[in-house]
């Protein structure tokens, strides 16, 4: 790794930028945060991973054969990335949204006509949600055709199926929140299907809707599910999922 470890120390001839960088990454404050200097050696590269709570989800080294795009098509990672985008845009949307009728719909109109970039924000959230359903499904197909669900990864596949179900439920509960005709009747169709469950169908539907038809009770229930319960659930399962990917020995080798 000689190319990357050329002398980064501040020699008198070094440029201002490099001298500043060396001063910065050598300072006590920097070290208190990052525990290592500018990344020069393999030791720094390893420290970057395991002295960082977010990056230490990765091993310090990975198999070179697991890197090319065609191995995963980045689909699992993109699903996570979309979830992050959805969390950020979702929190911003929550600042403008009241889960009550007809206020919810008026808030949509405000996003369109009053809030700066409100439409853009809503678009980002909606299209990311649709895309996430697609990437999670494709990720499942990728794992299937790679045979990566075989022992010892059986359980992680099951966790994955739960993640797929949660992704669909998140998308479905979010669909009601704009409180327009599209939302209202799509959820009517969807929850009518739940009503077809034998014996307890009507009870399940009543529990979901907080009544016999969709109304304000439904809105608040779907809101709590969409913004609190389901995201918490999916975060917990994702933690298990990623941890298991590593514990099961990293990505499955090609068949």
């Amino acid at each position: 790794m000689n190319d990357l470890s050329t002398n980064w120390n501040a020699t008198p001839q070094a440029g201002v930028g490099r001298r500043l960088l060396t001063r910065l990454t050598g300072s006590g404050v920097w070290r208190s945060v990052f525990r290592h200097g500018w990344i020069r050696t393999n030791r720094d590269r390893a420290l970057t991973i395991y002295s960082n709570v977010f990056l230490h989800i990765h091993p310090v080294k990975v198999r070179k054969s697991a890197l090319p795009f065609r191995v995963t098509f980045c689909l699992g990672g993109l699903s996570l990335a979309l979830f992050i985008v959805l969390t950020v845009t979702g929190i911003l949307l929550m600042l403008y949204y009241h889960p009550s009728a007809p206020r919810a719909y008026e808030d949509m109109k405000d996003l369109e006509f009053v809030v700066s970039s409100g439409v853009f924000l809503r678009n980002l959230h909606r299209w990311s949600a649709h895309l996430m359903v697609i990437t999670v499904f494709l990720h499942m197909l990728r794992v299937f055709f790679a045979g990566a669900y075989r022992p010892p990864r059986e359980f992680n596949w099951v966790v994955g199926v739960m993640l797929l179900v949660l992704t669909l439920l998140l998308s479905f509960t979010g669909y009601l929140l704009p409180w327009d005709q599209l939302a209202y009747w799509a959820i009517t169709v969807g929850t009518n299907m739940a009503g077809a469950v034998p014996w307890v169908g009507d009870e399940i539907r009543f529990l979901l809707l907080g009544g016999n038809t969709i109304g304000e009770n439904t809105l608040i229930r779907f809101y709590v599910l969409h913004c609190v319960v389901l995201p918490l659930g999916i975060v917990v399962l994702m933690a298990v999922h990623f941890w298991r990917v590593r514990k099961d020995g990293g990505l499955a080798r090609p068949l």
């Binding site: 080294k61 439409v119 990864r153 005709q181």
Partner: protein, 230 residues
């Protein structure tokens, strides 16, 4: 002798005994045909790729969101039922099935069976080696498989689920072509190498896609057939 809490079964049938122990005596050297694999540092090789993928995704989302607006219709009105009322697109495959089957089949049985089928996959298909579809060309397997497919097609046809019937029929033709004109090379060779589990998954995905597309683009008032350009 230490206590054993497992039992050794002697077998060379990988279906019956998927996890196996090899005993290597001292005078034989263990031969493994896996080379030690080349490793790279995660920083920068992996983390940089992830960062680039993330940037590209956000750029794509931003462009798309600038160009296409999320729909917003009139305020919800319980008294004004639109015709047709459609579920979100990822459930339109199920709603399309609702057109052919009673709600308990389309709304409960099918989704429940799909989730259960997905969950049990790794507990049924545990072998590393995947025999191609027609590898065991004994007549019994062929007959069983053929009659299962034919039987399901007949039942589906009775219910009039022609999107699934046609999709299944076309896929069966491809599978039969694999039997009649087998190949080892090229893209057709790759199709011929597909195992039965792969074919089942392909069939499931094909039916889901066809049903969903019909639900999204080809259904109008009263769930009647319309063309997208009508």
């Amino acid at each position: 002798m230490p206590q054993r809490d497992f039992e050794l079964v002697k077998s060379d049938d990988p279906v019956a005994v998927p996890k196996r122990v090899a005993l290597v005596s001292r005078d034989v050297s263990l031969k493994v045909d896996v080379e030690p694999e080349e490793m790279v540092m995660s920083v920068p090789h992996l983390v940089l790729r992830e960062a680039i993928a993330f940037e590209l995704l956000v750029a794509f989302l931003a462009f798309y969101s600038l160009l296409v607006d999320a729909p917003l219709e009139q305020m919800a009105n319980p008294l004004k039922t639109p015709n047709p009322a459609k579920a979100p697109w990822y459930f339109l495959g199920l709603q399309e099935l609702l057109h052919y089957f009673p709600p308990i089949v389309a709304g409960v049985l099918v989704p429940a069976l799909v989730v259960i089928a997905l969950i049990v996959i790794p507990y049924f298909d545990v072998n590393v080696r995947r025999p191609r579809l027609w590898e065991r060309r004994d007549r019994r397997a062929l007959l069983t498989f053929g009659s299962v497919v034919l039987g399901s097609l007949v039942i589906l046809a009775i219910f009039g689920v022609w999107p699934v019937v046609i999709t299944s029929f076309l896929l069966s033709l491809v599978m039969i072509a694999c039997l009649l004109y087998p190949s080892e090379t090229g893209w057709w060779g790759r199709v011929c190498k597909l195992s039965l589990p792969s074919w089942i998954m392909i069939w499931f995905v094909a039916c889901t896609v066809v049903l969903t597309l019909i639900g999204v683009y080809f259904r109008g008032p009263g769930w009647s057939w319309v063309w997208p350009w009508q």
